[in-house]
Subunit: 429 residues, 2 copies
């Protein structure tokens, strides 16, 4: 008999159906037992006649295949229920479960949640996080496809590091030493130059950071885009504004049930996101919060305070910080004057969720900037090739998927928005 | 002035527009010069008055921004052309180009093509390969989303290898030794168990194979799916049949212009793909081609001959080989009798493009099969956890993206269908 999803049963009243799923809950009375079954589409109550079926040995979270008749009912879950006529146990659970997944809230700490990922993901509220995350990804993709972007997949085993930092994972690549890519920066620029003009990639990025924080992962999903034929970085900020509006609208339409379950209210973007120059932000922090210890960059506290200021004074959950200091930006960033750059960060509810900007497209200028940064151009030979054969003015940005998911949903730790975490201590599961 | 795409110009006759792109070709006459500009949407001819503009120093593939008036015309490219009124050179190309991209066919060998990837990708026929590849990915995704699958992203840095082989890349993960994932096998099974039931992943996979062949890459994109609540592997084959039909139909509709440019005719799937038992295929090869040297597996020649046989006798470009020998399949494969398995390969035009099958869902049976395979269960601790807390009958498959692209387009080498190749010798660009 063909398996039916629980969500289909409402249209099948009085019919005999096959339902398959996990045993979510039992309530045993003298003559009958109520069993709630869960499949990917929902929950359904089954009525079991204790005289006909002995199901006392089937544990919670066992996998079963049930034959039953759909009956009208007014139980808490649905306007229907199932009268059990047959049951096959596909997988019997004997061990006691390390966490209880059939409570309204999964009341376990983060470590327990991640150590028992198979089970914690079964909880509707945990599962909903990843349904929302999927909508973020699909609306990001949809928006960019409409804007003429091409999706790309670029290598994660690389010889040259884009960010020039030391926090890279080393890979033994046959006789050679290679690294895991910290970002697809070079490759997305290459694909702009290759005539795709506008490209995006949703893929893994790697940072061998030693510190365990609630904001960082050692392996994460970076949503990257790069765009040719811009005037300057303001085109990228305009694009991101519209992109974020599109994502938020998509979540409000397609993610309604998950947002309600998680009791989340999404931020609104009123027309434009405020744009504040980096230097001005330093002054704001000094004048309003007496924060005088900043040296050319914002620390986590400063990001929080600035977002507080913007929320209170400009009524926005988002703020662009523009004209970041040249000293703090990678060598590919387009300089602005001697000390500034055509680059920006986007802060959201106290944390940076995007870094972006215009890149250098002129070969000579790039060589000069490598020198300024103290880098040896010989280490970037294949990257430099891009700029010899016709490169448009271009720019781009990256959004960390887990981080934006966590911030949109008000989750404290980015790991809660990560299916399987890789951090300083987690290499399994 | 706002940039217009060349594809928009037909609706802007007699208007002054800004077009930006690469200089594709020149034809210099005494009084005028014809310049062809290329952007991501196409080619357009511009007429330059030599008395007004000196463009003699602008090389082929330079990036320019042009102001011009759109005029009706009957040139080879379009029913319109541009009268140049202003030109800005965004990026001047001075060096001689290592390959010519403005010929009808890019007549270079594979190495030259890959060494000059930025340029070779600018050629319309090379670019088209990746437009088709994108359609393969998007139709794969679209079909599975419609079928209730959830897209997942799982770790590529792993502690436990799924395939049990030795061909893995080693990563230094802080104090620990880790590997690059050969497949998302364990994680997709985990996500089935986590209640998603049906999952797919389009992501990187790594094989540290020493041999350079035209069919293998060391880093490639694997399109993986895994599906719970099946009866057996025939559900997976049914799904793949429909999936492939959907992909081919999508390509025929949305990829028409690329297929015509590449002069490719796609295969047709007539209703069902033939299913032949592995053992039967050995007999077919013996009887028809006198191929007697096979020992429990097909070699590349055998795959080719079998496809030839199926094409000639069953009129199909595809064939499922079922009931693969247990000895040749990984430990998670559901056995069938003592020597067989519930698993299959899909061959297409002489090569395997999919391996799939039903997996073991019973904890004890999995332990037994690990023993049969000579594996130490202690090395698979976190994987084994999946089977303790309720696992449905399930199965899945994987399709190599570059390989299926290459075979569908009749490309000889899988590298031609790879944006940036990672193989035994290629770590850059």
């Amino acid at each position: 008999m063909k398996r039916r999803l629980i969500s289909e049963l409402n249209g099948l009243i009085d019919e005999k159906v096959c339902v398959q799923g996990w045993v979510y809950k039992f309530r045993r009375l003298k003559f009958i037992t109520f069993v709630i079954i869960r499949d990917r589409s929902g929950l359904v109550q089954c009525i079991v006649d204790n005289n006909k079926f002995d199901i006392s040995e089937i544990g919670i979270e066992s996998v079963v295949s049930i034959i039953g008749k759909v009956k009208e009912s007014n139980n808490k879950l649905n306007p229907f229920e199932l009268e059990l006529e047959g049951i096959e146990v596909i997988c019997k659970v004997k061990d006691e479960l390390p966490i209880e997944v059939n409570k309204e809230n999964l009341e376990v700490n983060l470590d327990t949640m991640l150590n028992n990922r198979i089970l914690s993901l079964r909880h509707p509220k945990i599962n909903a996080i990843f349904k929302v995350q999927n909508l973020i990804v699909s609306s990001f993709r949809e928006f960019l496809n409409k804007e003429g972007f091409t999706e790309i997949n670029t290598p994660k085993i690389v010889k040259e590091g884009a960010e020039g930092g030391t926090e890279v994972f080393e890979v033994k690549y046959f006789e050679e030493k290679a690294y895991l890519a910290q970002s697809p920066q070079f490759y997305k620029q290459m694909m702009v130059a290759s005539g795709f003009e506008r490209v995006f990639e949703i893929g893994h990025a790697y940072r061998a950071e030693e510190h365990n924080t609630n904001r960082h992962l050692n392996e994460y999903i970076s949503m990257d885009l790069e765009m040719g034929f811009i005037e300057d970085e303001s085109d990228i900020m305009d694009l991101e504004e519209n992109l974020l509006k599109y994502i938020i609208e998509s979540l409000e339409i397609s993610g309604k049930e998950y947002l309600e379950l998680l009791q989340v209210e999404l931020p609104t973007i009123h027309n434009k996101i405020p744009r504040i120059k980096f230097e001005e932000s330093i002054n704001i922090l000094k004048e309003n919060y007496n924060k005088n210890d900043l040296k050319g960059d914002l620390d986590p506290e400063a990001e929080k305070l600035l977002c507080k200021y913007v929320k209170e004074n400009l009524n926005s959950d988002f703020v662009f910080l523009t004209n970041y200091p040249r000293k703090k930006r990678p060598m590919y960033t387009m300089p602005l004057g001697e000390e500034g750059t055509h680059s920006f960060d986007l802060l959201f509810k106290g944390i940076e969720i995007t870094t972006g900007g215009q890149r250098i497209h002129d070969y000579k200028r790039l060589l000069e900037n490598m020198k300024y940064k103290g880098l040896d151009a010989n280490n970037y030979e294949s990257y430099l090739e891009i700029f010899k054969y016709g490169m448009p003015r271009h720019g781009g940005l990256a959004i960390g998927l887990e981080r934006i998911t966590a911030k949109l949903l008000g989750l404290e730790n980015v790991r809660e928005a990560t299916l399987i975490t890789r951090d300083r201590k987690r290499l399994i599961p």
